[in-house]
Amino acid sequence: MPDLGLLRTTTFRVALLYLGLFLASVLVILGLIYWFTAGFIERQTDETIAAEIAGLREHYRQRRLPGLIEVVNARSATPRTSTLYLVASPTYAPLAGNLSAWPDAAPDPDGWVEFEIKDAPPTPDGRRHDARAVMFTLSGGYHLLVGRDTRERGQFQERVLISLAWALLLTIGLGAAGGVLISRNVMHRIDAINRTTRQIMSGALQERMAVKGSGDELDQLAGNLNAMLDQIEQLMVGMRQVSDSIAHDLRTPLTRLRSRLEITLVECSGEDEYRGAIQEAIGEADRLLGIFSALLSIAEAEAGTLQRSFHKVALADIARRIADLYEPAAEEAGLSLDSDIQAEPVVLGNQQLLAQAVANLLDNALKYSPTGGRVTLTVDGPDGSRGAFISVADGGPGIPADQRESVLRRFVRLESSRSSPGNGLGLSLVDAVARLHGARLEMDDNRPGLIVAIVFPRIGAG
């Protein structure tokens, strides 16, 4: 990827933002440093001048102009002093002090003035002599100037400023370089993710994102993408199985239907024969429609949209009503259907679907139980170890433990039950309904037979 792309990446923009924030804070810190150093010196200059003025004012009060001139002369004579003094006549002719002429700069309202010292010998590097002073007008029109040579102070401030500027430049350089490095590293990994994604989109479905193992956000992103891809792959495998099964399971009855109708056309003669053939055809079509509506019910339960229509459902009521519906059919099959209602749990759910799920379990129990057997419908819980549940137990052949997962898949029928009628969708629907309700489907050995329980999550008792 060219470096031009770097400027457009989010990562780099984030790096820039950080750099900006970093710079802003560095600027604040540098400003403080400047204020504490250069500013401190400046304030000191002013304080020194103020102290000088206070001293001179004392002399002037006690001994008027002559005393002032004397003190000024004495102080000006101090070698290498950086304090400036000048006493001048009303016409600004110098009377005493170490300045040769009254500066022509105008003072600000507070009396402070900044000016250039004209008669000072120029420094080797051609630096100007700057001074800062206060001017007073004394009684009788005499003038007094007290100030300080600010040349050294200026040099110092300049040095501070230069070093601060360097610090700033260094900060920008380091920050930018760091930002670029970090963003390039991150971008490199995102680029790898994008590349892999494109490969997957172009058909390499088994490809997965590389995970560094550091557990950072990018690793988590890659991990989540991989998990998502796994899930999609599973769904696709499932879909393929379903469509294969549909194709297979629907083709058989459709073929049968078609060949029957064909034979009818060729062989039938009397109206009664036609009638019989048509009735058979209708029966076959009904079975096909049954498969479709079962598939649709499963799809509906799996879509989860029904959760909007959930309300409080008493499991015991469902058990009583469905037992009422199935009892005669069970008796007819030579079985006894017992309801064992231990508690009256209330769950959130869809009454129709739950009833349909229990009905499917009873259909199975009736279908596979040998004559003289017993089918038990149990409602219990919730108690300490288990949520509320509704279960159906029979005395049939049961389902081997290693096949309990697979019977939940659509159209799966165990070899042992191939001969009995059914479309292999009953338990799939029960499973889909259970999952819609956030419930678990538990299968157990009834020794002999099968127990299937729909175990609900624990909710606040309604």
Partner: protein
């Protein structure tokens, strides 16, 4: 009976109209909601059959408008949407019954006739039902046939009550499941047949003329 079919699918409508006419009903057909609304409002029908998905509008809104205008003709909804939710919404919008496509014609006919009877019977609360020599006292929850007292389980009583209220009409297994047990799915086991068989044992045994008859491919009917 006079029936209005509001259905946009020409083939489905033709099939329905033909079948209903052969069963002795007078049938009108409207191909869209606008015509349907006009006809339903201007003529006096015994039953309306309304498709949920009409061009440009939902059959639900059409029935809501009719109900709002004071038309209380019984309505049977037809829909390709068979979910529990859709059924509830259909009945809430003022429908009296709901049938999911694809349906067996016998099922449609049985339901239409049940609806038509409901209208003519009116909403008068009866305390006694009688069909020939079979009597049901709804208050005392007692059933007699001729001079013989017949003991029924609560569910058998409800089943017989429904059959008697629709005496002379075909009632399908689905109608019984929906109206007696309030279930809207088809069990794989023939549970309804067993219930009816048991009821028949109690009602028809010891009597020369059976009252509960099986209608092949459709359901059951109770008649003298």
């Amino acid at each position: 009976m006079k029936i209005l079919v509001i259905e946009d699918d020409a083939q489905a409508a033709a099939y329905m109209v033909k079948g209903l006419r052969e069963s002795g009903h007078v049938v009108d057909h409207a191909a869209d909601g606008k015509d349907g609304l006009f006809m339903a409002g201007s003529e006096n029908y015994d039953v309306l059959i309304v498709d949920r998905l009409l061009p440009g509008r939902d059959g639900l809104s059409l029935v809501e408008i009719l109900r709002g205008a004071g038309t209380d003709t019984p309505v049977l909804f037809l829909s390709a949407l068979g979910s529990v939710d859709d059924r509830v919404r259909g009945l809430r919008a003022g429908g009296d019954d709901y049938l999911t496509k694809p349906y067996a014609f016998s099922e449609l006919l049985a339901r239409v006739e049940a609806l038509g009877r409901r209208k003519s019977a009116g909403a008068a609360a009866t305390t006694r039902l009688q069909v020939a020599d079979l009597e049901m006292d709804l208050l005392a929850r007692r059933v007699r046939r001729g001079t013989k007292q017949i003991d029924l389980l609560p569910r058998e009583f409800r089943l017989l009550e429904y059959l008697m209220r629709h005496a002379g009409n075909v009632v399908t297994r689905t109608m019984l499941l929906e109206n007696v047990w309030d279930y809207h799915f088809d069990p794989q086991t023939n549970v309804i047949d067993v219930h009816v068989a048991r009821l028949r044992q109690k009602i028809d045994r010891d009597f020369p003329t059976p009252m509960i008859h099986t209608v092949r491919g459709a359901g059951y009917t109770l008649r003298a």
